[in-house]
């Protein structure tokens, strides 16, 4: 029964997203027909296009047709690239995926242990230091840190590669298998190409990783401390257990559900935040595609990108919720 409600909620959310995108698309101050045919088109061409774009049908029908098209991936043609938008998105999405996945990996590997450490030694110097760093990760504007990072680590120190995913030398020599350069260069067997891919991924990935670290460390610490304040921890102490045993065997298993939910939420958040990082690093991901389409006035591309990221965002969050529910059939979570 609960699963049914959850599914219904997800479908409602998807429908809501479709509707909002549709509504935004219809609220354009610019006449969509003119955007396609130009403002010098003769009236019968205008009428023909008006009919072809279904603008003469009732709004509900328009929405239905829109939703149908979106669900089939029929996003239309991009006016800036000339390609079907679906093809564009398929081309750009792996880059964003690569960036976000690298960042979440960093965030979990560094953030989870830090959160546990902070909860164990709450109030001590290590805790304060770690909290400051995670707080900075939360408060930093990624676009600014990206610029500063490029300045320091690329221009001044030369430790990492510059904007873009690969140097020009490798861009055409590496076969495109998965679209994820890190994997493709590894598969191509060219160590120089692989090193190049890493050197380009390192800076943007680490910057987003810092943000992920901030959220994960902070939430893990918070969830663990909340658990440590509950009655069963007092009883565990009464049993004569050590603080370490209480933390690892009792508090952490109770906190892991919400922590996993946060990790999924952070991953979804990174997909969003990549928009700004990609702009600075000229990283050819979906975020860059959307901003470029925005400035080219290619509204269908922006709407499609919104939908794709929105759906990914929703699915990731629901996955996190599901996992949390699976991991704590017995733990009493927060309301």
């Amino acid at each position: 029964m609960k699963a049914g409600l959850r599914l219904l909620s997800l479908i409602a959310a998807l429908a809501g997203l479709l509707f909002v995108t549709f509504a935004l698309g219809r609220l354009l101050p610019v006449d969509p027909v003119l955007a396609v045919v130009g403002d010098r088109a003769p009236p019968d061409v205008y009428q023909h296009m008006f009919h072809q774009m279904h603008l003469d049908r009732p709004v509900a029908v328009q929405f239905g047709l829109f939703a149908w098209a979106m669900l089939h991936g029929d996003f239309g043609q991009s006016s800036s690239t000339g390609q079907p938008i679906l093809t564009d998105i398929a081309r750009f999405f792996p880059a964003t995926l690569e960036l976000a996945t690298f960042a979440i990996f960093l965030g979990v590997v560094l953030g989870l242990p830090t959160g546990v450490f902070c909860a164990r030694y709450a109030g001590r110097l290590g805790d304060h230091l770690a909290r400051i760093i995670s707080l900075l990760g939360l408060s930093v504007p990624v676009f600014w840190l990206s610029l500063v990072g490029l300045l320091v680590f690329y221009a001044r120190l030369g430790w990492v590669g510059g904007p873009g995913r690969l140097d020009i030398a490798f861009q055409y020599s590496v076969p495109n298998v998965t679209g994820i350069d890190l994997i493709d260069t590894a598969l191509s067997g060219d160590p120089a190409a692989f090193r190049d891919a890493i050197s380009h991924l390192l800076l943007p990935g680490s910057i987003l990783g810092l943000v992920a670290f901030g959220y994960i460390a902070r939430m893990t610490r918070g969830f663990l401390l909340w658990q440590m304040g509950r009655d069963y921890v007092v009883v565990a102490r009464l049993k004569g257990l050590s603080e370490a045993a209480i933390l690892w065997r009792h508090a952490l298993p109770c906190a892991i559900g919400p922590v996993i939910s946060v990790i999924f939420w952070t991953y979804a958040y990174l997909l969003e935040g990549a928009v700004l990082t990609e702009t600075v690093f000229a990283w050819p991901g979906i975020g860059l595609y959307m901003t470029q389409s925005l400035f080219a006035g290619d509204i269908p591309a922006v709407l499609a990108g919104t939908l794709v990221i929105g759906v990914a965002f929703m699915l990731l969050n629901r996955c996190g919720d599901l996992l949390q529910g699976a991991l704590e059939p017995n733990a009493q979570g927060k309301t």
Partner: protein
């Protein structure tokens, strides 16, 4: 030391640091506990729970503990290192808390938590611990122990959970059991059963017992002695084991008179008027 009293407290002062001025929770409490059943009765804020937490080393860092003597079986508890506390808790001194279903870890089965206790304090193998856990649950009158061991805390009723909690806390075979409002979260009928259970177990094992409660008449029957606490001090000591208490101190008299009885039906209940002199 075998002849030393189980718990020996002399002139205990506990102060809690707060953003305003420090709060004196316990102001010069003294008690000695042998192998007997002692009840400590008082309202919220009387300092009874704070005293017990001091005896277990579970006061927060904001609390400062000062006493002439605070000893368990002759071992000084003042300034004891955390490692030493951990050898005492569960093994020599045990405490049963108010809400048993919150006291068990939600994600582990009852069996896992009992085995943890047995493995730690009795060095049993897991299989032997499981059998022992079953035996202990049977001893606290839980039917079908092997089934209950597989259950999770939220699946148990309040009474059953408290029985299991008692069994778990007795697993280390402690010398002293403290029951801190152990029945306050239970139904009236179950309250009597649980207190009787604790009483039986304590007698059978030759342990000392401290019953903490705010209900004087409830615990009076199950205690050899009763201490009445008010505002951080003991104001009266009564002989227990009988329902017919003969208090002398006006606070205790007032407490007893506040209870509704069949005779008070239809009349306004008396309200305790506090005399500032009791704070002295």
């Amino acid at each position: 030391m075998p002849d030393a009293p189980l718990l020996d407290i002399a002139d205990l002062h506990i102060n809690f640091a707060t953003p305003a001025s420090p709060v004196a929770a316990v102001r010069g409490l003294s008690l000695t506990l042998g192998q007997e059943r002692l009840a400590i009765v008082g309202e919220s804020g009387s300092g009874k729970s704070a005293t017990m937490r001091a005896a277990l080393g579970l006061l927060p860092a904001t609390a400062s503990v000062k006493a002439q003597r605070l000893a368990f079986r002759g071992q000084n508890l003042l300034g004891l290192a955390p490692k030493r506390w951990r050898t005492l808790r569960g093994r020599h001194i045990a405490m049963v808390v108010q809400d048993p279903r919150q006291g068990f870890t939600p994600v582990h089965s009852l069996g896992a938590q009992m085995i943890e206790m047995l493995v730690r304090h009795r060095a049993l193998t897991r299989r032997a611990a499981w059998r022992e856990a079953e035996a202990m649950l049977a001893e606290v009158q839980i039917r079908d122990p092997s089934q209950v061991l597989r259950q999770y805390p939220h699946e148990l009723s309040g009474g059953m959970a408290q029985r299991a909690m008692i069994a778990m806390m007795l697993a280390g075979e402690p010398a002293l059991l403290i029951a801190d409002e152990a029945t306050s979260a239970l139904d009236v009928v179950v309250q009597q059963q649980i207190l009787a259970l604790i009483d039986t177990q304590v007698r059978r094992r030759g342990m000392g017992l401290i019953l903490i409660s705010h209900q004087l008449d409830l615990v009076a029957r199950f205690a050899d002695r009763i201490l009445v606490m008010y505002a951080g001090r003991v104001v009266e000591e009564l002989r227990g084991g009988t329902a017919a208490l003969q208090p002398v101190h006006p606070y205790t008299i007032g407490l007893l008179h506040c209870r509704p009885t069949p005779a008070s039906f239809g009349r306004a209940l008396p309200v305790l008027t506090r005399d500032p002199a009791w704070l002295a």
